[in-house]
Symmetry: C2
Subunit: 245 residues, 2 copies
DNA sequence: CGGGATCTTGAGGATGCTCAACGCTAGTGG
DNA sequence: CCACTAGCGTTGAGCATCCTCAAGATCCCG
C-alpha cells in the first residue's frame, strides 16, 4: 500500500481563505444542505488537494480514514482480481462524493484519470458532524440509496446486456450527466480511455472500439476531435440501450 | 402493476400479540438497535404477512409505500429488460431487510421463491421513527453501505469472472451466510433454481448446470438430496472463486 | 405411481476475446 | 515550428467461452 497523499500541504491548492464558499460544485454535493455557519466549519475540516493524472487516491483494503469531494477532473474507481483483471465500479466527475461504499477499509481503489481537484475530510470529523446535524446523515443515506440504484442498473447491464446495449447505455448516462451540468446532451465529452470504458462495461478495449465503429457506421453517432462524441438521436439511443434488435 | 398484498388482513400470520418480541431473527435486523419500548412501538406499525411461493411482493416502478423485513423463507429481487431478459440483483433470507435501494419507486421487483413470512412497515411510519431515533437512521446508512459493498463485488463478478469463478463465488457466499446463521458451512442448502442462479450470475441455466457437473467431476463438491451442496474444501473454493486457472 | 417441472447432457453456433499489426494523435524536444 | 515517438485507438483473423436449441433424465408433488 502506498500513501500518495501523505504530505498534502505541499500540494494544497492556492485558493482563497474559504474555498467551500466559492466552490463551484457546492450545490450539487452534500454541502448543499448546510447553512453558512455549518459550511465554514466544514471549511476548517477540509484539505484541498491538486492531483495530476494517474495518481492513486487510495487502494482497496486501505484503512478508510478519509472521505472526499471531487470538485474538478475525473476519478476512476475500480477493483482488481489477483491476476490483474480489472472492474471499474464507477467514474466520478466534479461534484461527486467519494467514500460512501465502505466500512473500515475502502472496498475499491480510486485513481485520477485526469488532473483532479479534490476536498478531503477526516472521516472522524465528518462522523462527528453527522451526529450533530441529522439532516446531513439523512443526506448521506439518500446518496447511498442513489448509488445503490445505480449499481443495480449496472448489474443488469453487466449480467444481461450485449456489447452494443452496454455502450449505448453508457453514452446515454454520460449524456444525462452533461445535461444536468448544463452542457449539451448530444455533444458529449468522453474523457476516459477505451480500456477504462471496457473495464467499466465488462468488455475489452477492442470490443469497445469495434462497437463505436459499428455505431458510427449505423449513423447513431460521430466521433469528433478531442474525445467528443456526437449523439445523433437520443431516442434511438434509448431504444438501443435496452434492446439492440 | 398488480397489488397482490392489497388485502393483507386475510393473510396475516396468527402469531401472538407482540410478534416482534418473539421474532427469531430480531438480533440480525435493524430492530437490534431498539429498546423494548421502541420495539413495541415498531410492533404496532408492523403487518405480519404469510406468503406462498412465487408471489409478487412488489414490482419495479411501483410506488414505494412499504419497507419489509423477511423473517422466514427466500425472496428474489430482480430487474427485467423489455424483451424478458432477467437480472437477479439479490436473494433475501430470513433476517434480511427489503427496501433500501429506492427513492419514490422500487428500483427492482421482489418475488417469493419459497413460502415467506415477512413484516411490512409503512414507509412514512418508519421515516417518522428515523427522525426520532437517529441511531436507527445511522443503522440504515450502515446497511446501505454494506449492500453497496456487496453490489460492487457483484459488479466484479459479472464484469470479469468466468462461469466457474462465478459459481464458486456464489457457493462461497452461501456458505458464509450459513456459517453466520450457525449452520454448517460445508453442507450448504441451495434453495433457488438453476435458472435463478443463472439470472443472478449472468449465465444460462445450462451453463450453471454444466459448471456444477464440472465441479463435481473435479471433486470440489457433491450434489446431495434436497438441494444440499457439499463443499469439499473451502480453501480450494476460495482460490477457484478468484482465479480458476 | 404418474406427470409436470426442473435438471442434465449434447451438438452446433454466435458473441466477444486473444493476438497481432497498423494508424492516428498529442505531447516532446530539437 | 516541425519531426519524432509513445501511447492510444482501430481493424483483422482465428478462437474460446458461453449461448441456443433439443432431447433425455431425475425429482418432487399430488
Amino acid at each position: 500500500m502506498d500513501f500518495p497523499l501523505k504530505d498534502p500541504l505541499k500540494r494544497q491548492s492556492g485558493s482563497g481563505p474559504s474555498p467551500c464558499a466559492a466552490c463551484t460544485v457546492r450545490d450539487w454535493v452534500f454541502c448543499s444542505v448546510l447553512s453558512e455557519h455549518e459550511l465554514s466549519r466544514l471549511d476548517e475540516m477540509a484539505t484541498h488537494l491538486d492531483l495530476s493524472a494517474k495518481e492513486t487516491i487510495f487502494n482497496e483494503g486501505d484503512e478508510a480514514k478519509h472521505l472526499f469531494n471531487v470538485t474538478e477532473g475525473l476519478v476512476k474507481l475500480y477493483k482488481l482480481l489477483p491476476d490483474g483483471r480489472e472492474q471499474v465500479t464507477g467514474f466520478l466527475f466534479a461534484g461527486d462524493f467519494l467514500g460512501i461504499a465502505m466500512n473500515d477499509t475502502y472496498a475499491y481503489s480510486a485513481e485520477t484519470t485526469q488532473p483532479v481537484k479534490i476536498c478531503r475530510f477526516k472521516r472522524s470529523d465528518l462522523e462527528q458532524m453527522f451526529r450533530e446535524i441529522p439532516k446531513l446523515e439523512n443526506r448521506m443515506l439518500n446518496m447511498a440509496t442513489n448509488e445503490l440504484v445505480q449499481a443495480q442498473d449496472q448489474l443488469l447491464l453487466l449480467g444481461r446486456k450485449t456489447a452494443k446495449e452496454r455502450l449505448c447505455t453508457f453514452l446515454l448516462s454520460l449524456s444525462k450527466r452533461a445535461d444536468k451540468r448544463g452542457d449539451s446532451p448530444t455533444l458529449v465529452s468522453v474523457p476516459m480511455s477505451r480500456e477504462s470504458i471496457g473495464d467499466y462495461l465488462g468488455l475489452t478495449t477492442e470490443t469497445v472500439s469495434r462497437t463505436f465503429s459499428k455505431l458510427k457506421k449505423e449513423n447513431v453517432l460521430s466521433l469528433n476531435k478531442g474525445g467528443i462524441v456526437e449523439l445523433h438521436n437520443l431516442d434511438d439511443l434509448m431504444g438501443l440501450a435496452e434492446d439492440s434488435t
